[in-house]
Symmetry: C2
Subunit: 190 residues, 2 copies
């Protein structure tokens, strides 16, 4: 039996992405978001949604660039903090002891200790409502050599990242493979 619920932003799973940017004085800032995703393959793009009230909003608008650093679970507390404090009042890198690294490709910093980083050049801005959606072209990727898989790409099990469940407000682990993609569905092919 299906129940009807009021509209709400409870679709899942959501990513935990730490968005890096510089402010107008080149102070590095980082903010955790759960509302984003890959949005195009050619050019490769990812999107993040932010409220205008956030400090990161103005930073991205000014520098036309941002990074997305993906935390492993050992940095869960730091990522959680990045989503609560505002760069307007505090230097979040200094507060956590993590290292802002200047991207060589875009005008934005990333978190040096996090295992996988996407460097994005802003190519679209879409005002939706309370949130503005930034679309960034992925112009480079950095990955710690310790999380690389045999195929030359980051191995999510080694990255040990996590997801956010906005219904329970818990961070959830991402577990073991359940099946290979583009295979189990073949049994419905005629």
């Amino acid at each position: 039996m299906m129940k009807s619920l009021e509209p709400a932003t409870i679709a899942f799973p959501t990513p935990i992405w730490c968005v890096g940017s510089y402010d107008s004085e080149e102070k590095p800032n980082v903010m955790t978001i759960a509302w984003g995703g890959i949005c195009c393959s050619v050019p490769p793009c990812l999107t993040v949604s932010l409220r205008k009230a956030t400090y990161t909003y103005g930073c991205i608008m000014e520098h036309k660039a941002y990074t997305v650093s993906i935390p492993s679970v050992k940095y869960l507390a730091e990522a959680d903090y990045f989503g609560m404090a505002s760069g307007k009042n505090v230097d979040k890198f200094a507060a956590t002891g993590l290292t802002p690294v200047r991207s060589e490709l875009v005008d934005a910093p990333y978190v040096g200790e996090f295992p996988v980083v996407f460097e994005c050049r802003l190519i679209h801005t879409l005002e939706i409502g309370l949130h503005t959606q930034f679309v960034g072209e992925i112009v480079g990727i950095k990955a710690d050599e310790n999380v690389m898989g045999e195929n030359g790409l980051p191995d999510m099990n080694k990255v040990e990242t996590f997801t956010y469940d906005s219904t329970s407000k818990n961070y959830l682990a991402i577990g073991s493979p359940v099946e290979k993609g583009f295979n189990p569905g073949k049994r419905f092919m005629k």
Copy 2:
């Protein structure tokens, strides 16, 4: 030591969302996507990215509506199939035996057997490149009463959904809570 990689669409985790729509003859169609996410809180919106070549693209453009049905892992093979076959050539509901249910709120069908459904009215279309991004306002949510949690919202552990890792091309389980959100980071607050 960080390695530099070529731009690619390997940010993670990605959702497994089954996008329901009607074609011009009111045939229900459904397509699995991994590129999407929540993108605004007021109004509550979610975005999905599709290639113009997909059958769903034309369906959404015509009806200005779509649904997102979230599969539990018991329907992994069906969801996998929905991402491989095209509604141009086949009735995917008939092929899998799943039930298209007409939304009462938007001009699109959803998958009757899946535990959580979002009903969306198209409010923005953004051409990015190979992919077009559709932004849909969530005007209603349906959830199976068997997956409801104590807070009156779907419980992700009961839904037993999964995620897709585009580096390994595996579907991955979403596991147990690791920490409560907006709490562990408090230790960095001064």
